[in-house]
Symmetry: C2
Subunit: 363 residues, 2 copies
């Protein structure tokens, strides 16, 4: 597979690029896309970069009925020198295969997948925006497309990569959000698909999200599906709390997505010799820490916003105001460091950055 | 919406129909399909019956990423008089809207949905097979198709109906299956999407299914996600047990799909004055009933197979042989009665049957 070369069919016309200052998230797409097919027997084949275009899919294709799909999200950043770099892309490809395993989708060759991302970004490199806080969002995904109405793993798949130039998640930089703790709906439970990045997890989250938005909260904080006591993750982010000088985050227990930004935060804190623990964290513990004044900071971590400080947690009638609703010092330092590395403004001691346009070994 | 008429574009060519005796499940599709669009502001619009064809969909369409989709399954039967009739179709449309509500998809007009099914079946009525045990499987489904990479309810949807002539689920009539009780993977948990007919539930089930198939079992029996003690459902069916003359089935607890065949079995048993209870049923209870000889019958219920007797349950090292691996008397009687009503061979005292080609009020 790795030795297969990617067929490239360049677009005859180029689209107008949105103005860097007016970029929103996930609404416009670049000139090209990557597509590769899978069939039982043939394996993954026919890797191609083609003009961005609609897919022609049988209405009986299994993706429309039985939801067998996985995806990833990562970004390409333009540095001040004009270089283009990816942030830990090999982690996304590893996780894609981890999701594939859970969803009974055949694995892809991770090294080849990274090569496909790099070639696609290279071809559409003019789409990597250069305004402060902007980037090119890259969305690899796999869908089942055998036309068959039977509950079984599909015999055909498509691996596709599309890309969208995106603005800073927060127009005015990093800003605290208000989060509501969800007591009724459940995102995932051990033995389910919570660890996998698959469409169904997101579809199931919409209902709770819709309700809390109406009440003025930007996202929900999910509790465990068993006892509804322990914190899992926030909307589409992992979550961290600084309590009495120590940082804690829910341990990966089988129902939490293993965020790549989460992993980067952990590495960074350890690098700085700041105490950080992955363990069970209950809402009761947070409540008590808030009451006795030791809940110092809270923040979410994810690819879209990098670090999203939490200014208020609403739980069971209690409004927990955190750090007076302001961005905490540590949250800001983590944000500045990760984005600094991503944009090549500060040194990368972790080998997180992968340059596009240069051959790079997958770690 | 109800007053909107359906635009019909007939296919210029007709496909060859598969031989009735060689029908399999969900592999061939009729000449036409129904399509209706939804956009925020416009609502559901442009209902059309068109030649069966591929969909042209943006690769950024939300269905490929965030799994917002629902579906239904029902059948049209050809009677000995040549009439075509549906089985409780209004229940499928009700459940579709119930699933829509959970998945934050705008509801459809149920009466109009039934009219669409009837018009489509009427147009493709030659596709309703007439061999013993065959039928036309009807698959209404809704997919989100706004091109947007943000986790939010889609602003555009497609409601589609496709149809497939299908053979008898069991070539040689009703036959007991071997089922393995699943102890590791979980299908659903209260607060999740288990009650909704959405792709994600089926995608998440594939892994466990794949494992037990390799061990010679045809489906898994799911336990509750909280304690892994209580029975939920079998693969894609609800499940019933006859213990010491009484029938029990797991109560609809928020994580079990409310099967229409399940409901029909309950009505039938009550009509026959056979004691039937919807309640929690633990595997331990079943095990003990098996040991003391009171576990008389077990069967699954669903649209595809109607009634599927369970001849063996494998649980935690124990092989529970039920009714000597043979189809139980009651299972057979229920199967004969429901299929008898479906094919118009016996009287329908429940008003379950809806004729195609005649105007019918939705109950």
């Amino acid at each position: 597979m790795v030795n297969q070369s990617i067929r490239v069919e360049e677009s005859q016309s180029r689209k107008n690029k949105p103005d860097s200052s007016e970029l929103v998230f996930g609404r416009s797409f670049t000139d090209h896309m990557f597509v590769m097919d899978y069939s039982s027997g043939l394996g993954w084949h026919n890797p191609s970069i083609i003009p961005y275009q609609n897919l022609s899919i049988d209405p009986a294709a299994m993706i429309f009925h039985y939801g067998q799909s996985v995806f990833e999200g990562l970004k390409a950043f333009r540095t001040q020198d004009g270089d283009i770099q990816l942030f830990r892309p090999e982690k996304n490809l590893q996780r894609l295969n981890h999701s594939n395993e859970r969803l009974v989708i055949p694995p892809i060759d991770e090294e080849f997948g990274l090569e496909a991302i790099k070639q696609l970004v290279e071809l559409d490199k003019e789409w990597v925006p250069d305004a402060e806080g902007t980037s090119l969002y890259i969305r690899p995904f796999i869908i089942s497309n055998e036309p068959y109405l039977g509950v079984a793993p599909s015999g055909h798949y498509k691996f596709i990569i599309i890309m969208s130039p995106v603005g800073s998640y927060y127009k005015e930089g990093i800003n605290p959000v208000k989060i509501a703790v969800e007591n009724k709906y459940v995102r995932a439970v051990k033995g389910g698909t919570g660890e996998a990045k698959t469409g169904g997890n997101y579809a199931s989250s919409l209902k709770a999200q819709e309700i809390v938005e109406k009440e003025g909260y930007s996202q929900v904080l999910w509790l465990d599906g068993l006892e509804k006591k322990y914190i899992e993750e926030v909307g589409s982010m992992n979550v961290f709390f600084k309590i009495n000088g120590e940082v804690v985050t829910p341990a990966l227990n089988g129902s939490i997505l293993a965020g790549i930004t989460r992993d980067s935060v952990l590495e960074l804190l350890r690098h700085w010799d700041i105490s950080v623990t992955e363990r069970r964290v209950s809402m009761q513990e947070l409540y008590e820490a808030h009451q006795d004044g030791t809940l110092e900071e809270a923040f979410g971590s994810g690819t879209a916003a990098v670090i999203s400080p939490i200014g208020e947690l609403y739980w069971d009638g209690n409004h927990l105001n955190i750090n007076e609703g302001k961005t905490g010092e540590l949250s800001k330092k983590i944000y500045d460091t990760i984005t600094g590395i991503q944009y090549g403004k500060i040194k990368d001691p972790f080998n997180w950055v992968v340059k596009v346009g240069k051959k790079t070994e997958v770690k």
